[in-house]
Symmetry: C2
């Protein structure tokens, strides 16, 4: 079996034990175009015939997040934590208030701003989190629908 590349090996290299469950979880996240909740991962594994306990999914995503293999997102509008495969690219999110789909934004408009802010406040800036809310093209027509809160 190939041990020098792939997701399973990323886990090994991280210092975590390379278990079946963690491998599958990371693969599921890698394939998903949307961040997923622990429960969604759990259900997906069930569909794929992989028996796993929900606690294990929680513990797996937590350890994978600690090792930076996945990223945990807290995007309001749901009280559930979302997890996504860490593609090692700094990105932001555009959340559709209609269908709740999450779209990643590659461009970061804040690079320069952080420097200005550091100079102004004398803070040591570590990073930032930006989420933008709106309605996607498909949902624009229905934008009058219940505007779910976001702030």
């Amino acid at each position: 079996m190939d041990k020098s590349s792939g997701i399973a090996n990323d886990i090994g290299r991280s210092g975590l034990k390379r278990t079946k469950h963690r491998t599958v979880i990371l693969e599921i996240l890698e394939k998903s175009d949307q961040p997923m909740t622990a429960e969604q991962i759990f259900l997906k594994m069930g569909q794929e015939g992989i028996a796993v306990s929900l606690s294990t999914v929680y513990r797996a995503v937590e350890s994978l997040a600690q090792k930076k293999l996945v990223t945990a997102l807290e995007i309001s509008g749901s009280n559930k934590t979302l997890f996504e495969y860490n593609r090692k690219i700094h990105r932001h999110y555009l959340v559709c208030l209609g269908c709740r789909k999450i779209r990643a934004i590659a461009h970061c408009p804040l690079k320069d701003y952080e420097e200005d802010l550091a100079a102004e406040t004398d803070y040591l800036i570590s990073g930032h989190k930006l989420v933008i809310y709106g309605y996607c093209p498909d949902c624009r027509k229905n934008a009058a629908m219940t505007p779910k809160e976001w702030s």
Copy 2:
């Protein structure tokens, strides 16, 4: 009693009943330089000798938030919702990862960016949420301390 200005009257004008509890809660938030959790408000009221049920605090901040008199913040690092008096100014937050103090930032670097993004994605942009993380001047020296997660 003055009925044409002040916090109590803001509540009345919002369509909510002007109750003692809601008035006190809004006053507490107005005086606080930090956003507060429901429980902090509850405790503060206790200190001030005002008997109130925690459920009531939750319901009060919820209704006040609905009427836009207070703003609910979900800043990760704690799973508790923070509430702040709505000073009707669009603002962002600078969270110190050391002492967890929250400082408001008046300048918003995203005004132009939203337009570009709308043009690029064909989304109807409603708003955004930006939180910046770092270490305040006091905490910089200890920046090596356990860096609490923020993403």
